[in-house]
Amino acid sequence: MTPILEIKKLYKSFGGLLALNNISFNINRGEIIGLVGPNGAGKTTLFNCVAGIERPTEGQILFANRDRTISISGKKPEAVTALGIARTFQNIRLFDNLTVVDNVKIGRHCRTRSLFFGAVIRNRFQQAEEKEIAESANQFLEFAGLKGRGEEIASSLPYGDQRRLEIARALATEPHLLMLDEPAAGMNPQESRDLMDLIRRIRDKGITVLLIEHDMKVVMGVCERVVVINHGEWLAEGKPQDVQNNPKVIEAYLGTGAAGAA
């Protein structure tokens, strides 16, 4: 089985700072994979490179979209989304002034087509499309557990629901690969459990999930495989339990000498 995403020898430098240094790993289709590492390890930079927000300095990112494999390094973010990679953000980025349902409707953007004349004339095509957008937006809201909240203003939602809304919006783009950037940050234990359940349900729909997370309970509970990076370098990869006991990983998190103590 071909991996859905192959990251090959990826480098990214910001001036003199090497944020990503020769990172290579694969993501298999249909798995939930965790990307962990201490603060400043380059996890979000890696996300941004895959999502097209940053252009990698060197290296390749290959995305298997159904039967074709395409290089997406350096592609524009909107093109990456259209190919089937969606993401959420570490510091929630919702459309604050819009309603919850409009946020999800905007997620449908790349799968719909009407423009100015459709909007003004409201021809049959536009009406059918608008109906489809509204229906599917409500389905995604229900899937994310936000049923009946559609008319609230996005910024008025509680924190945990805002995270869910961001996931619903990302799902509305019909991705093959969903990248979640610290989805459990700031959540209480109950909310994280619900989140883990949501992530599993997303995977059961056939969507591959790549997850950055600091909350080890979530990582251990939901990920099938974990990739650890530190200082922009690949450090370890494997099953969550194995990685957790890897001396190099403990050292990266707790400092030199901690591995012996543990």
Partner: protein, 349 residues
Amino acid sequence: MGNLKLQNLTRAAKIRIGLLILTLILPFFPFVTDYMLHIAILIFLYMILALGLNIVPGFNGLLDLGFVGFYGIGAYTSGLLTYHFGLSYWVIIPLAFINGAIWGILLGAPTLRLTGDYFAIVTFGFSELVVLFLTNEIWLTRGPLGLPGIDVVSINLSLFGGPKWEFVGELPYYYLAIVMVLVTVFVMYRIQDSRLGRAWFAIRDDEVAAVSCGINLLGYKVIAFAISAAFGAVGGSFFARWVTFLSPDMFKFWESFLILCMIVLGGMGNIWGVMIGALVLVSLSEILRELLPLLGLPVEVRFLAFGLIMVLMMRYRPAGLMPIPAVAAKMRAGRIKRKKVKATVGMKQ
């Protein structure tokens, strides 16, 4: 449409229909003079312009200081086509719309990559360029001499054996302006509640999130700019056939600023707010024009008054008279919080 009964309508709809009927019968009140109708038409014209400009700062969150450039282009398109070819106004409207949109794309496509203030400076430069062009290209525009004797609007039915009816006086223009405002408002409402409008609102709220929803930033900004410019040009085309005289100094930067003030005053992004902004500022300008000489002040003092109003608005109602709903909700929340803080402080004392 059989269910259009009065009791089925919401309160807001009743108010709107009432206002529309009042506007339609206004000229028949005995106290209404031609001068008042003239001011009313001016208000409608600025409503069209403010609604057009509103697309860029209100819907997309981009500062546009050069809107008057498109207004000028539309006016001279209309004026020159009438002057040289005697085209009917009904043909000129779509031509002005298209010409405005073309210039919007020509200016927007290369410059909308710029962010915030830099883009604003480019638009400002553009509007100045338009004025310079209109002043100096005498072979085309007659320059500072202006373009006099533009035909009035007429409805010519002679092709079908009907009469030719020329617009004389303010009254026909009054109703023409109402129709144009209604069409503009209709288009704005339709856009607001569509895929295009949502994409714009997404860009306004968060560009990075918008792009990761698959929205092509540059593409949608150019569309916004083009449509905005097109409405500016349509406003200009009306202006040319209404006042029947054009000169380059009618399209100075001051006009852009005035239209922007209307949007800020009324509530950026809110269609009703923007129209109220136009109503308030145009009528205030006329009232002050009458009032200031009585107080022994020069009429230019009214610009000072506008400045003062904007300062006060920024201090007390930064989101405008009628903010968009989410902004209004946030402001209410802020006010409640402030009240609570005051209440707790009070209790401690």
